[in-house]
């Protein structure tokens, strides 16, 4: 919600209400798929072996360099949550805005949890999530993600012609499986988008 510093009690109360809204209306659904990958940092591409998918770009290939496999993941809070936020925006706008923000964190939490679970499952370290639109990882790759994960059928996530996911609170990501523990954890301040309103410089 853009709040910096210690929040006002009224904002905290609103956040509490927003949390209740999310608990009542969000239904987390997720899907994942383990794939073999070839990440070529020098040539700048990542290939999903056996699926005929190749993503060009330096950022993702650098991020995944050294990984031979990865999880493709997708998660969503569902349409009921989306409809509820829309309704709140019309009836109680302040709560609507707060609930929208709460949804974003709830989805991130759900993804964190999924990644922890996958880490246990494969017994290896996972890299941080990398989504279409980060750096030079093209948005168009969303088409491959949605298709490979069959998100429409499995979790009810659809892609529009303009490459937007529906429900809006949905995420897809590539998570590299690594032999070494994560030592290249990049901070917010490493991102190339210098004018981002949420940017935090690395400590």
């Amino acid at each position: 919600m853009g709040v910096k510093g210690a929040p006002d009690p009224s904002v905290l109360a609103l956040a509490k209400q927003a949390e209740e809204e999310v608990n009542a209306h969000a239904k987390v659904r997720s899907v994942f798929k383990k794939v073999e990958i070839k990440a070529d940092e020098i040539a700048g591409y990542v290939e999903i072996v056996g699926a005929g998918v190749r993503w060009e770009g330096k950022n993702l290939s650098r991020h995944l360099s050294g990984c031979e496999s990865a999880y493709l993941i997708a998660a969503t809070l569902g349409f009921e949550m989306e409809k509820r936020v829309n309704y709140l925006m019309s009836t109680r706008p302040a709560l609507g805005v707060a609930t929208d923000a709460m949804c974003t964190s709830a989805l991130e939490c759900a993804l964190d949890e999924l990644c922890l679970q996958l880490e246990k499952q494969c017994g290896k370290k996972l890299k941080t999530r990398f989504s279409c639109g980060y750096g030079d990882f093209p948005l168009a790759a969303q088409k491959d993600m949605v298709k490979l994960l069959d998100t429409g059928r499995k979790i009810g996530v659809f892609l529009s012609e303009s490459l937007m996911l529906a429900p809006q609170k949905s995420v897809t990501a590539v998570v590299g499986i690594s032999d070494e523990s994560e030592n290249n954890l990049r901070g917010c301040g490493d991102c190339g988008k210098k004018d981002c309103a949420f940017r935090k410089e690395n400590k």
Binding site: M1, G2, V3, K4, P7, D8, S10, V11, L14, K33, V35, I48, G50, A51, G52, V53, G78, F79, E80, E82, K83, V85, N86, Y87, M89, S90, T91, R92, P93, A94, G96, V97, A98, D100, G133, L139, D144, V146, K147, L148, G152, R153, I155, G156, F158, L159, S160, E161, S162, L163, M164, A166, P167, Q168, D195, A197
Partner: protein
């Protein structure tokens, strides 16, 4: 033999999974199996033959994803044709079903694809697959998409149509369609309805039961072989699977097949277990009900139809419709839903307006805002049909009358779309003055509606309310006609109530007394203003007293907690409007009211409210307050403006009209909605065109209202292109209109590059810019 004849006498065995079979034969992940119709037809044929050998009476063509959203439009026809040919070769005299899956894109309002676009995608497949014996539309999760496919099938083919949706365990699809709403909405448009995919037969059984109680159409099931584990091994084996179908067969589901994880082995087991069984008879009394995609309203007690979305006698609604301000319409829908209306009447009857187009816009926008079923209030067949195409559920058509032209013009449309219909007990001679005259008209309407195939539970008669001050004796005639129509014909009844008190003082008392008398006489569906608590209380009380509200549970739920809201503390000495607005407190309105005693309304706006809002904007800019507080402040300011409005004759304090839209292709509208809230509370009249708005629609709205400022929002690089197109079109056709833009990917430079006048990084910035345009000082 015709498929529909065949299924009357036989248990029909469908096929099993295609995808699972392709994967077993080594198809790589990410490959679309439909291409095999061209690349490896022999493999496709081999799989079909496996199912025919196992005992399938029907095989689905390998065309599930063959549509122009998922593949090149030029390839669709060839792949579909090839798919039907291969299946025909393999079928060995059995039935070939043209398989149609979802497009993969999502329709409005949740997504951005239009109904017409989806309709054309499906029409192409259906025309290309004309040589099949059956059309099967399956695995749908969105009601709008399902309806587009069904109508495309009905209007481009005469083949029998099967359709199924995919449900989660709670009996809803991913987009929220309930099993019952699916059955009520799809049944009139399909020959056979069913369920496929997602779960095993055990988990789908309760869902199938819910569907079965809401349709008289034959039923089919294509369940998954349970749930897969990590290695994609499914949990239910062939024998268990077939055994689970016994209960389906016993309840009269006689068309059986398999979805993901099933194989010819499963089909063979179903065939040997149930193949020779004669279909069990089904006894169904479909309940009287209407629905949206997600909500069914049963007419098992008095239900309220909200009357507020009707321009007749309502100046603000009339203006909104003329300006194309659908945000106003949506707000009235939400208000009535909050007040407890069960169904919403939708009327676009403004002289000189394009009723067909406006009615459709209204339907779409209301459906995006609330989940209540709708009543299409219109007498023009073409407008009714267009509106029913847009309705995402089962609606009511209001109305036909006993004239031949009305009956013949409207009833076939009602029957085609499976709507319910209101019959007005009038004919070409007008409203009969006698009870018998009204009964005679009602009888004629009921008879004709039934002849068109409209079931009795979907016919509602309106005996007409006349103004009691003009024709006093007619009130009793209306009530008597109601009573006799209920007792003699047994159909549901509807009545516009508020007209009774026209021209009298204290109208509310007359209205609620008449409403109570009418309910006692047999009124099921009063059309009233739900925002009047006394009217809603009369209905709720009647439902208690007539035993429709079992155990008084609704009454208690609704009224037990209506303790008086803790009265807000009175405004304190020394705390000004700024204080209350900035804290988002309702006392801001009290202070405003006091000030209005000593100041002119416009003075209050200019000298108190606007400066207070500007200070709040500055606080936001400086990081003293944050977005939620900015919005709360705007909400408090809205109460102040309402106070001021009530002191001005005509209520107009608008500082000017501003058109807002989220651009075409973009459905993320929270930013635009925040801007709207803030602008409205600065006293601007916002014409909110919603999301996914085509450039020409923006231009039309600007032109129509001669609007001086237009705000556009876009989230992503992919939709900024449409923002640019919209700006170009505005420059061309409305050169005087200023354009402000905002959204996640926009920057000042980018805004300049696409030709906007102003980049607004947040809602406060848009209010500042609006003030600079409208209040240049």
């Amino acid at each position: 033999m015709n498929f529909l004849e065949f299924l009357k006498e036989n248990t029909v065995i469908l096929d099993g999974a295609l995808g699972t079979q392709f994967q077993a034969k080594g198809m790589p992940a990410g490959k679309s199996p439909e291409y095999y119709n061209i690349e490896r037809p022999e493999l496709v044929e081999e799989i079909h033959r496996g199912y025919i050998a196992a005992g399938s009476d029907v095989i689905y063509t390998n065309t599930f994803g063959a549509n122009s959203v998922k593949m090149d439009i030029d390839k669709v026809e060839r792949i579909v044709r090839a798919g039907v040919e291969i299946a025909r070769r393999a079928a060995d005299g059995k039935f070939v079903a043209l398989d149609i899956g979802p497009t993969g894109a999502l329709l409005e309002p949740l997504g951005s694809m239009t109904f017409q676009q989806a309709y054309e995608v499906f029409s192409q497949i259906i025309r290309a697959g004309a040589d099949a014996d059956i059309i099967v539309i399956e695995t749908m999760s969105d009601m709008a998409e399902l309806r587009a496919a069904l109508l495309a099938a009905r209007e481009n083919s005469s083949l029998p149509v099967m359709c199924s949706m995919t449900f989660e365990e709670g009996g809803r699809t991913f987009t929220g369609v309930s099993a019952e709403a699916f059955a009520l909405t799809a049944s009139p448009l399909a020959d056979v309805i069913g369920v496929n995919c997602s779960l095993g037969p055990d988990k789908l059984l309760p869902i199938m039961k819910r569907i079965a109680s809401h349709t008289t159409k034959p039923l089919f099931i294509k369940a998954n072989a349970g749930l897969p584990d990590e290695k994609m091994r499914y949990s239910i084996g062939a024998e268990e699977f077939a055994r689970m179908y016994e209960e389906y067969a016993d309840m009269g589901v006689n068309i059986l097949g398999g979805c993901c994880g099933t194989s010819p082995e499963y089909i063979a087991k179903i065939k040997s277990t149930l193949g020779n069984k004669k279909p069990a008879a089904r006894e169904v009394n479909v309940p009287a009900a209407v629905c949206s995609a997600s909500q069914v309203v049963y007419l098992d007690r008095v239900r309220v139809i909200g009357e507020r979305i009707n321009p007749t006698g309502k100046k603000a609604m009339k203006e909104a419709l003329l300006k194309g301000d659908m945000g106003y319409v949506a707000a009235r829908a939400i208000e009535q839903a909050e007040a407890g209306a069960d169904i919403l009447d939708v009327n676009a009857g403004v002289p000189g307006i394009d009723e067909k187009a406006v009615l459709c816009q209204m339907v779409k926008r209301i459906q995006a805002a609330v989940e209540l079923p709708l009543q299409i209030d219109c007498g023009k067949p073409d407008a009714i049909e267009a509106a029913l195409r847009a309705v995402n559920g089962k609606a009511i058509v209001n109305s036909v009358n006993a004239e031949e032209a009305s009956l013949n013009g409207i009833l076939p449309i009602v029957a085609k779309y499976g709507a319910a219909v209101v019959g007005l007990a009038v004919d070409e001679r007008g409203i009969p003055s006698t009870v018998e005259g009204r009964l005679e008209n009602a009888r004629r309407i009921i008879e004709r509606a039934k002849a068109f195939g409209i079931p009795e539970q979907d016919i509602y008669i309106d005996c007409l309310t006349l103004t009691v001050s003009a024709e006093q004796g007619q009130a009793l005639n209306t009530l008597e006609a109601l009573r006799r129509i209920k007792s003699e014909y047994g159909v549901r009844t509807v009545l516009g109530v508020s007209n009774i008190s026209f021209g009298l003082p204290a109208r509310g008392a007359i209205n609620s007394a008449f409403l109570t008398m009418a309910m006692q006489a047999g009124l099921d569906l009063p059309i009233i203003n739900p925002n009047i608590p006394e009217m809603m209380a009369a209905v709720d009380a009647f439902n208690v007293l007539s035993c429709a509200d079992k155990g008084c549970s609704r009454w208690v739920e609704r009224y037990a907690s209506t303790k008086a809201e803790p009265a807000a503390a009175p405004a304190e000495e020394g705390k000004d409007i700024y204080y209350y607005i900035s804290k988002g407190l309702p006392q801001a309105a009290d202070v405003t009211r006091e000030k209005l005693n000593v100041m002119q309304p416009l003075q209050v706006i200019d000298e108190l409210l606007i400066p207070a809002l500007n200070r709040v904007g500055d606080d936001y800019e400086k990081g003293v307050i944050f977005l939620p507080q900015l919005i709360s402040a705007a909400e408090a300011a809205k109460l102040c403006f309402e106070e001021v409005k009530s002191h001005i004759k005509g209520g107009a304090v608008g500082k000017g009209d501003i058109v807002l839209a989220t651009v075409f292709g973009d459905v993320h509208d929270i930013g635009k909605n925040i801007v709207k809230t803030v602008l409205e509370n600065y006293g601007y009249n916002v014409i909110d065109l919603g999301k996914n708005v085509p450039p020409q629609t923006v231009v039309d709205a600007v032109k129509k209202g001669n609007v001086k400022l237009c705000g556009l929002s876009a989230l992503m690089t992919t939709t900024v292109e449409n923002m640019k197109k919209t700006i170009e079109l505005l420059r061309e056709q409305c050169p005087d209109c200023k354009i402000m833009v905002g959204g996640a990917v926009l920057t000042e430079e980018y805004a300049e590059k696409i030709g906007a006048d102003m980049y607004c990084k947040d809602a406060a910035a848009s209010a500042r810019y609006a003030n600079a345009i409208f209040l240049p000082q």
